[in-house]
Symmetry: C2
Subunit: 432 residues, 2 copies
């Protein structure tokens, strides 16, 4: 039932293992020029970390730190021990680079194989990887996991839809790795060929790399008659294989034998209680070549509370809720547009668009939300609409802890830029 021993660990065993590996990781990190200097400067002594709670006293590592350390100031071992690097192009000038030793790669492939095994893939499966290869970790990362698990792995790469479909059919592919937008596109190519993708033996899709909604997942599952599982990874923590959904499809288990995960307030860096939305912070616990301590992922999620029915105690994180850089602070409270969107989209009366307006009345911040209502509801009488308005405001207050002013507006009445709705408008800096 389990791929390896680590999946069966109890909470206590996980925490014991984490502490041991955290200590080892800190000692290893201290050998790198970057952490060596940082630890000296901040007075960090790896030997004085004696409990997992001590991790909070360690400094964070940011994307900017990685850029400033380019190309090799984070190496904890001689470069001759490294056998691969992945480079993220990034949107700014300086790339970030992650190095791996042979042992690091084996460990990464094992974690990835464990993810795939968890969702039901076996060595008898034929697995088509539709990810671009090369410097992007989705290609080689998933590929090596699939080979390690023993699947017949087809390194199809990205694009060339006709060939993808030919491979899927000719080799009776049962598992795929695909990005959601491409899966939707591919279904139109199937339609053009007059082939119903539900007739394929395809059972399982691994999906990551792009934010997408639960609704989109269910649509893909129906279109292809397959199960779709969410994957979370980032190149700084290897790539895919960091957190993965089990067959419950309710949150992604973080492999806590390999990563120490925290959720912190993106503003203060203070830890947040389980269930609260915040920034995911990750520490690698198994990497020897280039350990990274308390990496600020800028990704927003929360720990899910309670036990997963699958039996694994590795903590689950929620579907990603966007990036920290989208965060708004209103009346001292952190609010993320995704929180508002999720509530609005769960209400059948609400249409596709909304606009969040931040304003200042004297010294007090206010949040005003214009919400498009579906045509069929807008014809209702004023009283019904007033009730709806109150219900929306109340649901939002429960989520964001601030009461917004809700305005219901007609379908297609909100401004759009580039055909895409503008979601947030901050007017607090505008005049007195």
């Amino acid at each position: 039932m389990y791929y390896d021993e680590a999946e069966k660990l109890s909470r206590l065993e996980i925490e014991r293992l984490q502490l041991m590996r955290l200590q080892r990781t800190l000692r290893q990190a201290a050998k790198s020029p970057f952490y060596g200097a940082l630890f000296r400067e901040r007075g960090v002594d790896p030997e004085k970390v004696t409990s997992l709670a001590d991790v909070r006293r360690l400094p964070f590592t940011t994307k900017q730190d990685l850029r400033d350390s380019y190309p090799d100031r984070l190496l904890a071992m001689p470069q001759s021990e490294m056998v691969r690097m992945h480079v993220s192009s990034g949107t700014t000038g300086t790339p970030t680079v992650i190095y791996h030793t042979k042992r690091d790669l084996d460990w990464w492939a094992s974690l990835m194989a464990r993810c795939m095994h968890m969702v039901g893939l076996r060595k008898t499966d034929v697995f088509q990887n539709m990810s671009g290869y090369g410097l992007f970790t989705g290609g080689l990362g998933i590929h090596c996991g699939a080979e390690k698990l023993g699947c017949l792995t087809i390194p199809a790469g990205a694009g060339n839809s006709q060939r993808q479909i030919k491979l899927l059919m000719d080799f009776k592919v049962t598992g795929i790795h695909i990005i959601p937008s491409y899966a939707l596109h591919l279904s139109t190519v199937f339609a053009g060929l007059g082939i119903d993708p539900r007739t394929l033996p395809l059972r399982i899709a691994l999906v990551g790399a792009e934010p997408y909604t639960e609704e989109a997942r269910r649509r893909l599952e129906a279109m292809y008659d397959m199960k779709v599982y969410n994957s979370y990874g980032l190149s700084e923590m290897n790539g895919p294989g960091v957190a993965f959904e089990c067959q419950e499809q309710h949150g992604m288990h973080v492999w806590e034998d390999a990563y120490l995960a925290e959720i912190v307030d993106p503003q203060t860096g203070e830890p947040l209680p389980d269930g609260e939305l915040g920034e995911l912070v990750m520490t690698s616990l198994g990497r020897e070549g280039m350990p990274i301590i308390r990496y600020r992922t800028r990704d927003l999620t929360r720990f899910l509370t309670g036990q997963c029915p699958c039996g694994r105690v590795h903590r689950r994180i929620d579907r990603l809720q966007g990036r920290c850089d989208d965060m708004m602070i209103v009346k001292g409270v952190n609010i993320f547009p995704m929180q508002i969107e999720r509530i609005l989209m769960s209400m059948p009366e609400v249409g596709q668009d909304y606009l969040i307006i931040l304003e200042r009345d004297g010294y007090i911040d206010n949040i005003r939300i214009k919400v498009e209502i579906r045509e069929e509801y807008f014809v209702e009488d004023m009283r019904t609409l007033a009730v709806l308005q109150k219900r929306i405001a109340s649901r939002l207050r429960d989520e964001i802890l601030v009461t917004p002013r809700v305005e219901l507006v007609e379908h297609n009445s909100l401004p759009k830029s580039d055909g895409k709705a503008a979601r947030v408008c901050d007017r607090r800096g505008e005049g007195a």
Copy 2:
């Protein structure tokens, strides 16, 4: 000095090993539907192959056989034992597919690592693979060899020249895999950036996948101040790692512990003596998942005679001389355009273009060759030109064993199609 024991084998040891592995390979191949049926039909009994010479009694396998066996009639083990496939798109409709077990992949990576070690790459090297990844074997094939050897491997993939150059410089890359035309293109990008590639720490380039001349090799070596080594491989025999130049840069050693190579007459299939140009035929000696017996590569080369000064006794093949499908038969003799080109291009008086015309006088075939002469030579007196004409004819006769009629023509006087010279014109079928 050597990467592994197999490099040190004596001729006798190689042949003993080859026979043992050929027998094992035949027994293994017999388990596949394709060879099972073929062996029964042709009365091949693997147990009756008792000497290497017996290989000549085995049937050939052609590209068409692979197409007809699509997708899995060549599998000698259950598909669940396979962990990767590479698919060649080919130019025609049906692709060919090669399957690998985990053991097959390890073996392939070791052969590739041996090639790289032979030309001087070590685990201290930084190696940038500029090959496309995915289904094409040049990506993952070279990549896995480089990782196995322990080089710091950069999976750069194809294209994006500015990034390639940034990686080459930032990571002090010492070894690359690149196709010749791209290496030439990249040098112009370097020039545009005002960077002299000779100032990079680059030492070694592995080059394959495209036919190119010795002159082009020397030009690349000078441009980048690096050594360029030729690589030969084909996906049917895994991909790169089949034959590789040693530091002598004189012919490519075929790894005879892993492959049984023959040179045959492309018309009759009969073996040719060492030194004669013919079709390379390959048998895999180490593949368990999908052995291939006597594969007709359609590639033209010859065995080089004599000992290689490097000390390795694995036989060397010459630089590829084109494809069998270009073969002409004149007066019962097989002639390849590349043979003629090579002689012409070695003579300083000859320009860039030539035209081979095949004609029939009654029942007798004739070969006529129009040769463009460089401008500075064409101004010579008639007697000098007549001497040159005779010298060209004599040199060609020594190579192709037929005396051609040579006509010297002025620079730019030959017909071109699409800007490229038309090389062969067969008029033997025209009229009476």
